[in-house]
C-alpha cells in the first residue's frame, strides 16, 4: 500500500468511529487493531500492539500530568480556588474579562514552570475554566486561553519539549531556551490583548457582578491579600524547589500538590470528604488523558511502522530547496502530522530528515527549531484531533466539542500569526541568542 492509501484507510476508520461517538481512545484502538493486523502481521501483530499499549504510559515523563491535576483539584474542591477567584473579580473589577486575563497570566506562569502543556491545560481547564463558565463567561474566554497557553509553555523555559528538540536535533538547548523568550512573551501579550478587547467590545462575554462596584477600596484589597497572596506560596514552592536544586520539574509538580494540600489545611478547608473528592476527580481527568495517550501513542507507532509517515516525509525531497519554501513545507508537514501523532514522535520522525536539509540550505537552526516548536504545539490544538482539545473536553464534559473548537479558533489564529511573524522577522528569535553566543 502507498502511504496515501494507508493514511486514507486508517484515517477513514478513525473518522467513522469518531463520527458515531465512540470514545476517542477506543476509536484509536480500533484503528490500531486494523493497522496491527495489516502491517505488524496478523495475530502476532495484534499481540505486539497490546504489549506496546500496556507499556505506553509506563513513563516517568507522564508523571506531571496527575500531579498538576491534583494541585488544581485540591484548591478547587476545598473552596480555595473559589475564594481566590472571587477576590480577583473584586480587585480587578474595572478590567474587561478579568478572569480571562488571569488565565493567560496564570497559564503563562504555570507554563513557565510545568513544561507540559497537557498538564497545564488539565490543571486550569478543570478549575479556572469551570468557574468562569459558572460565572457566565463565554466559552471563548473561559476555555480558549487555557488551551492556547501551551504554545507559550513550549517557548518559555523550562520547556521539556524545547530540551527534547535540542537533544534530538543537535541544536543548542541553551540557545533554544533563550530564543523562545521573546516570541513566547509576544504570544502571551497578544493573547492578553485579545482577551481584554473581547471583554471590552462584548461585555456580555465576561459578565460583571452588579454589586461589586459598591465595594470600598479596603473591601477590594483585603480579600485579595487574604485569599490570593498566600496562594503564591504554592508557586514559590514549585519554582523555588527547582531553582534551589531540590527537585526536578516533575518532582516540583509533586511539591506543588503538597503545598496546595498544606494551604487547604492552613485555611481550615481540609476535610476527608474534600480530599476524597479531589482524588477521585484527579483520577477521572488523568485517566481520560492517559488512556488517550495509550491509544494515540500506539497509533503513531503503527503509522510509522507501516511506512506511511516516512512516505509522507519523502514529499519534502520534491520541494524546491530554497530556504523559505523548505521551511514553509516543514511547518505544514508538522501541522498535518499533529493531527495524528504525539509531539515526541513527531520530532523523532521529522528531525532526521529535516536537519540535514536545513543544514544544506543554510537555514539558521535555532530559528527553525523554535518555529518547529510552535508548529508542533499548534498540532496539539488544531481540530479534529488535537490532544489539548480532548483534554479540555475531558475536563468539561458538558460543553459540546464544537464549542471547544470554536473557543480555540481565535487563539490558533494568533499563534499562526506569531509563527508567520517569526518566519518573516528572524531577528525576533535570534537577537537574544546572539547576545549570549
Amino acid at each position: 500500500m502507498s502511504w496515501l492509501e494507508i493514511i486514507a484507510l486508517l484515517g477513514g476508520v478513525l473518522a467513522v468511529l469518531f463520527a458515531i461517538g465512540t470514545p476517542v481512545a477506543l476509536a484509536f484502538l480500533g484503528a490500531n487493531l486494523i493497522g496491527a493486523w495489516l502491517f505488524l502481521g496478523s495475530g502476532a501483530g495484534i499481540e505486539q500492539l497490546v504489549r506496546n499499549a500496556s507499556m505506553s504510559v509506563n513513563s516517568f515523563s507522564l508523571v506531571p500530568i496527575p500531579l498538576f491535576v491534583l494541585m488544581g483539584e485540591l484548591l478547587f474542591h476545598c473552596g480555595l480556588a473559589y475564594r481566590a477567584i472571587e477576590a480577583i473579580e473584586r480587585l480587578l473589577h474595572r478590567l474587561p474579562a478579568r478572569l480571562g486575563c488571569v488565565s493567560v497570566v496564570g497559564g503563562t506562569a504555570f507554563a513557565a514552570l510545568s513544561g507540559s502543556s497537557i498538564a497545564n491545560t488539565a490543571l486550569l481547564g478543570g478549575t479556572l475554566s469551570q468557574e468562569m463558565l459558572r460565572r457566565g463567561y463565554s466559552t471563548t474566554l473561559a476555555l480558549g486561553p487555557v488551551m492556547a497557553v501551551g504554545g507559550i509553555a513550549v517557548l518559555i523555559p523550562p520547556s521539556t519539549l524545547a530540551v527534547m528538540l535540542g537533544s534530538l536535533s543537535g541544536i543548542s538547548i541553551t540557545q533554544l531556551l533563550i530564543g523562545g523568550l521573546v516570541p513566547g512573551l509576544l504570544m502571551a501579550a497578544l493573547f492578553l490583548l485579545f482577551v481584554i478587547l473581547t471583554g471590552h467590545f462584548r461585555p456580555q462575554s465576561a459578565p460583571r457582578d452588579a454589586t461589586a462596584s459598591s465595594y470600598t477600596l479596603a473591601e477590594r484589597i483585603v480579600p485579595f491579600l487574604r485569599d490570593v497572596v498566600p496562594l503564591f506560596g504554592i508557586f514559590v514552592a514549585v519554582i523555588g524547589s527547582m531553582l534551589a536544586g531540590i527537585a526536578t520539574p516533575t518532582e516540583a509538580a509533586g511539591l506543588g500538590a503538597f503545598a496546595a494540600l498544606i494551604a487547604t489545611a492552613l485555611y481550615r478547608k481540609l476535610s476527608w470528604a474534600a480530599l476524597v473528592k479531589a482524588m477521585t476527580e484527579t483520577a477521572k481527568v488523568s485517566v481520560s488523558i492517559l488512556f488517550i495517550i495509550v491509544a494515540s501513542t500506539t497509533f503513531s507507532q503503527i503509522l510509522s511502522f507501516s511506512g506511511a509517515t516516512s512516505g509522507m516525509l519523502q514529499l519534502i525531497n520534491a520541494v524546491d530547496p530554497t530556504p523559505m519554501t523548505l521551511i514553509v513545507c516543514m511547518l505544514l508537514i508538522l501541522l498535518v502530522l499533529g493531527c495524528f501523532i504525539d509531539q515526541i514522535s513527531m520530532m523523532m520522525i521529522t528531525l532526521p530528515i529535516f536537519m540535514p536539509l536545513a543544514h544544506a540550505a543554510g537555514i539558521e537552526v535555532v530559528w527553525l527549531g523554535l518555529m518547529m516548536l510552535v508548529a508542533i504545539e499548534l498540532g496539539m490544538l488544531t481540530p479534529p484531533f488535537g490532544i489539548l482539545l480532548m483534554v479540555m473536553q475531558g475536563a468539561s464534559r458538558s460543553v459540546p466539542l464544537v464549542s471547544i473548537y470554536k473557543a480555540a479558533a481565535p487563539f490558533i489564529l494568533i499563534e499562526i500569526g506569531v509563527l508567520i511573524l517569526m518566519l518573516m522577522v528572524p531577528q525576533l528569535t535570534l537577537f537574544l541568542p546572539a547576545l549570549v553566543r
Binding site: 463520527a19 476517542v24 513513563s59 496527575p66 531540590i246 482524588m279 483520577a283 485517566v287
Partner: protein, 159 residues
C-alpha cells in the same frame, strides 16, 4: 438490572483503586524528594514504582471512567442529527466499542499467559514477573467489554 448494579460496584472499586494509586504516586514523588535531600534513605526503586502506579491507575481507571461516560468523544454529529438518529449512532458505537474491547481482552489474556509461561521478568531495580503488569490491562478490557455489553442489553442510549 441487578447485574448492571453489581457492575457499578465493581467499577467504583476500580475507580477507588485508580485514585488510590495516584494518591500513592503523589506521596512517593514528594517522599523521594524529602528522603533524597535529607539523606535519610536512598531507595532507587521509588521512582520506578511511580511508573508502575501510572500504568495501574490508567488501566484500572479506564473502565470506571467509561462507566461514568467520562471518556472524551467527538460529539459533533451526535448533536446535529435528530434524537432518533442519534440513538442509532450511540447503539452502533456501543457495538463497535464492545467488539474492539472484546478483541483486546482476548489478545491481552493470551499475551499474559504467554508472558507467564515464558517466565518473562521485569529486570530493573525491582525484579518481578512481567505478567503482573499485564493484569490491569486484562481487567481494563474485560470490564470495558462488560460495560458495552450491559449498554447493548439494557438498550442504553446515553452518548
Amino acid at each position: 438490572m441487578q447485574r448492571a448494579r453489581s457492575l457499578t460496584w465493581v467499577m467504583r472499586l476500580c475507580g477507588g483503586t485508580s485514585a488510590a494509586s495516584l494518591a500513592l504516586l503523589s506521596i512517593l514523588v514528594v517522599g523521594d524528594v524529602i528522603l533524597r535531600n535529607t539523606g535519610l534513605a536512598r531507595w532507587s526503586w521509588l521512582s520506578e514504582l511511580t511508573e508502575y502506579l501510572l500504568t495501574i491507575s490508567t488501566f484500572t481507571g479506564a473502565p470506571w471512567v467509561l462507566h461514568n461516560h467520562g471518556h472524551v468523544n467527538v460529539d459533533v454529529l451526535l448533536r446535529t442529527v435528530s434524537a432518533a438518529k442519534a440513538r442509532w449512532l450511540v447503539r452502533a458505537s456501543n457495538l463497535l466499542g464492545g467488539v474492539i474491547s472484546a478483541i483486546l481482552l482476548v489478545v491481552a489474556v493470551r499475551v499474559t499467559f504467554d508472558s507467564y509461561a515464558l517466565g518473562s521478568l521485569v529486570f530493573k531495580n525491582l525484579i518481578f514477573p512481567e505478567w503482573y503488569l499485564m493484569t490491569p490491562v486484562v481487567l481494563c478490557f474485560g470490564l470495558c467489554t462488560a460495560e458495552f455489553l450491559t449498554r447493548i442489553v439494557t438498550r442504553e442510549a446515553h452518548a
